[in-house]
């Protein structure tokens, strides 16, 4: 088996006296589109930040393509949450995409024709090339997301981490973003996406990570989206369970009881 794109091993991360993530382990093979689900405050953003190398684990390790996460530079890209961007900043779509190349341009020279070509290709990939000259605030929600994905691709990143890209966008936009995610995946990249809507999770993702401090399940949507598992994690707060297509029941554990002799007799 080839080296996994992302390997999270026994990761415990804390901000204070209780861990935000406890003993989380999973591996994502290259070229997968993985959803991260879990209730609010369950550690989804923390997981993204840890994979990104922004937050150092207390225990455990993160490897990207077999190398420690903090030694891999530029291969992981992060698409920020909508709220954390100044959308009135004087910058065009093209400039944002070109920003992805900044890590590769030495300080003494300008962006080369090659850099510009790569940036443009990235915009074509997300079908935003015709908006090149627009200021970023003058785009719809989905278009904004796509520009930042183009930046990630221009960066040459093989791994894309997206924190709630679907929050606050309409259904059509969600489709458009999903389409870009799918095509990014088909180009061989690995994506992890924080997602809120359990109803669409099965359809969108190849695999799901269900976290709430601990890793409750990791696998195909069929394995993870099981009502018993979910109601444990969401504590019955969601009603959609019944409408979910029932996946495979988690394998039942059978305890074994045997007769024995008196162990206290030697």
């Amino acid at each position: 088996m080839s080296t996994p794109a992302i390997k999270v091993q026994n990761v415990t991360v804390s901000y204070g006296p209780t861990p935000a993530l406890l003993d989380v382990s999973f591996e994502v093979p290259s070229g997968q589109l993985v959803g991260i689900i879990g209730p609010n405050g369950s550690g989804k953003s923390t997981l993204i930040k840890t994979i990104l190398g922004f937050k150092k684990p207390d225990v455990g390790s993160v490897e990207l393509f077999g190398e420690p996460a903090d030694q891999v530079r530029g291969r992981v890209a992060y698409v920020p949450q909508h709220g954390s961007v100044d959308w009135e900043f004087p910058i065009t779509v093209r400039d944002v995409a070109l920003m992805g190349r900044y890590g590769k341009i030495p300080w003494w020279r300008d962006a080369s024709a090659e850099d510009k070509r790569v940036a443009r290709e990235a915009l074509e990939m997300v079908r935003m090339e015709e908006f090149e000259n627009r200021q970023i605030g003058q785009l719809s929600g989905g278009q904004k997301q796509r520009v930042f994905m183009a930046r990630a691709m221009a960066q040459g990143a093989d791994i894309l981490l997206l924190d709630e890209p679907f929050s606050g966008v309409d259904a059509a936009t969600e489709r458009a973003i999903l389409d870009v995610l799918q095509r990014t995946k088909e180009s061989g990249r690995t994506l992890m996406v924080v997602h809120h809507d359990l109803a669409t999770a099965a359809e969108y993702f190849d695999r799901l990570v269900l976290v709430k401090q601990r890793l409750y399940a990791y696998g195909t949507p069929k394995q993870v989206l099981h009502p018993e598992l979910l109601s444990g994690v969401y504590e019955g707060r969601l009603k959609v369970f019944s409408s979910l297509s029932h996946g495979d029941a988690p394998a039942e554990v059978v305890g074994q009881v045997k007769e024995s002799k008196d162990p206290t007799e030697s």
Partner: protein
């Protein structure tokens, strides 16, 4: 002496008027100032006061040209309000139609209007008898005549009435405009109303402290009140009070010293008053923060002190022994000990320290966390030499859920990698509590409360009495003696699925 300094000035009617007028202004400044700082509009107050120069000059010239009257207070007031209104409109116009943000637009427009006022005043300097310097910088001796006093009183009455009547509307539009508009409260209307009130306040405060310092009157007492208030109404009352004390303080000091301008002294007094409150405020103050931090004992240190009792939780230790084990400054350790004493976790008898029952439970919980983390780290393949130090850092995570998770994941081990016993969570295993067999140790007895999940093999009955025997096969197999004397063995999953109520 006291009479000369405090009472004598009060007997002069000029001083009485100045103090009264100043207090009226201070009250409205404080009350409206609260909204100004909560909505981050301080810069707007500045803009309005600067625009006044143009308004006053224009009003003055207007009355002189058409009615041949000098220094007409009413005209200057109206002129100021119009200039303020013009400036505010221009600011919002520029920031709406262009990409210029509001703060920059304010900077552009108010300096423009201020400059126009200055030019107007200098061009007509022979005809205008307004003392520009004092108008801008504040007057040296505050002279308030009766008509001005009346105007201040009327302005104050109108503003206070508006603030009281629309208290809730102002509160909600400041705090949560989205919700306000969902309730049908026009956010824009109250924005305008508040801007109008701010203009009025500014206009009435300029004669007191001058154009440049008006913002100080508007913002500083309100900010001072903010430091010690958690409710808007209280904040407004305190802001008014701090405004009045500034006026009194400023005026008295400038009277005593002589030769110094009253306006700047009032504002300086307000600033010093703010700094003082900032220092001593009970909750948001610097001193309180420092005290809090000083009295806060780091959790790590407390745990380290408890850790000294690891070997024998019942033993009494002397303070010097604790000082030797714990790496921290002696005074910090003393504080940790005091803290433990105050929580009743530690009995302090002269030099001797002994854990109380609760203290012992806490120490045991900590020890359990430490040893489970060590076992976990060993399980992950960490070299034996690093186990203790790493676990010492990690044991600060010892909440029940985390520790139970580790315990279960490791198969409820009996000993840590160094062969030391992992204690049980005593608090959870008292008589009457319901626990999984997996959590029990040899010797525990109880009745089966419920059987969850699937079990193979000889059937166990709910209500049957059991006694836990020794673990077998490296602790991976639990043994039970049933009521009829038979023995059974359970694997981890079986032990996890049987709940027992302890005798």
């Amino acid at each position: 002496m006291f009479y000369d300094l405090i009472i004598a000035p009060l007997t002069e009617s000029a001083t009485q008027r100045a103090l009264l007028g100043g207090s009226l202004v201070a009250i409205v400044c404080g009350v409206i100032g609260c909204y100004v700082i909560l909505r981050r509009m301080a810069f707007l107050g500045d803009a309005l006061s600067h625009a006044m120069l143009a308004g006053v000059t224009a009003g003055y010239l207007f009355m002189q040209a058409f009615f041949n009257r000098e220094t007409h207070a009413g005209a200057m007031l109206v002129g100021s309000l119009l200039a303020g209104l013009f400036t505010v409109t221009a600011i919002s116009f520029v920031s709406k139609i262009s990409r210029i943000k509001e703060d920059a637009a304010i900077g552009i427009m108010y300096t423009g209007v201020f400059a126009a006022g200055g030019l107007l005043a200098s061009y007509f300097s022979e005809r205008i008898h307004v003392d520009i310097y004092h108008f801008v910088m504040g007057s040296s001796v505050l002279v308030i005549d009766d008509s001005e006093l009346w105007m201040m009183a009327i302005v104050a009455a109108i503003l206070l009435a508006i603030v009281i009547i629309f208290f809730r509307q102002f509160q909600i539009t400041s705090f949560d405009p989205v919700m306000a508009s969902s309730l049908g409260i026009s956010v824009i209307a109250f924005d305008y109303l508040l801007t109008a009130c701010t203009s009025l306040v500014v206009v009435s405060a300029v004669p007191l402290v001058g154009v440049i310092l008006v913002v100080g009157m508007l913002v500083t007492p309100a900010a001072t009140a903010y430091l010690i208030s958690d409710r808007l109404g209280r904040m407004q009352v305190l802001a008014a009070i701090f405004g009045i004390t500034s006026v009194f303080g400023g005026m008295y000091i400038s009277t005593w010293v002589g030769k110094i301008s009253t306006g700047p002294m009032i504002v300086l007094f307000a600033t010093l008053q703010f700094l003082f409150v900032l220092l001593v405020a009970p909750r948001y103050g610097i001193l309180a923060d420092w005290l809090r931090r000083r009295s806060m004992v780091p959790q790590q240190l407390v745990e380290d002190v408890l850790g000294c009792f690891r070997k024998d939780p019942k033993a009494a230790l002397s303070k010097s022994v604790v000082n030797k084990y714990v790496s921290a400054k002696p005074e910090e350790i003393r504080r940790a000990i005091r803290w433990l004493d105050s929580r009743d976790w530690l009995d302090v008898d002269g030099d001797q320290l002994q854990l109380t029952d609760t203290g012992r439970q806490e120490a045991v919980r900590l020890l359990r966390a430490h040893r489970l983390w060590e076992t976990y780290l060993q399980h992950l393949g960490m070299p034996e030499t690093e186990l203790h130090d790493r676990a010492h850092v990690l044991e600060h995570m010892h909440d029940e859920e985390t520790v139970d998770y580790l315990d279960d994941k490791l198969g409820h081990p009996l000993q840590d990698p160094h062969g030391a016993d992992i204690p049980i969570d005593e608090v959870k295993l008292t008589s009457g509590s319901k626990v999984k067999i997996a959590n029990l140790r040899e010797g525990h007895e109880g009745t089966i409360e419920s059987l969850e999940g699937k079990l193979t093999g000889p059937s166990l009955t709910v209500g049957g009495h059991i006694k836990v025997g020794p673990r077998k096969e490296n602790g991976e197999v639990w043994t039970l003696r049933l009521a009829d004397g038979r023995w059974v063995e359970l694997d981890h999953s079986a032990a996890d699925s049987i709940v027992v109520k302890l005798d």
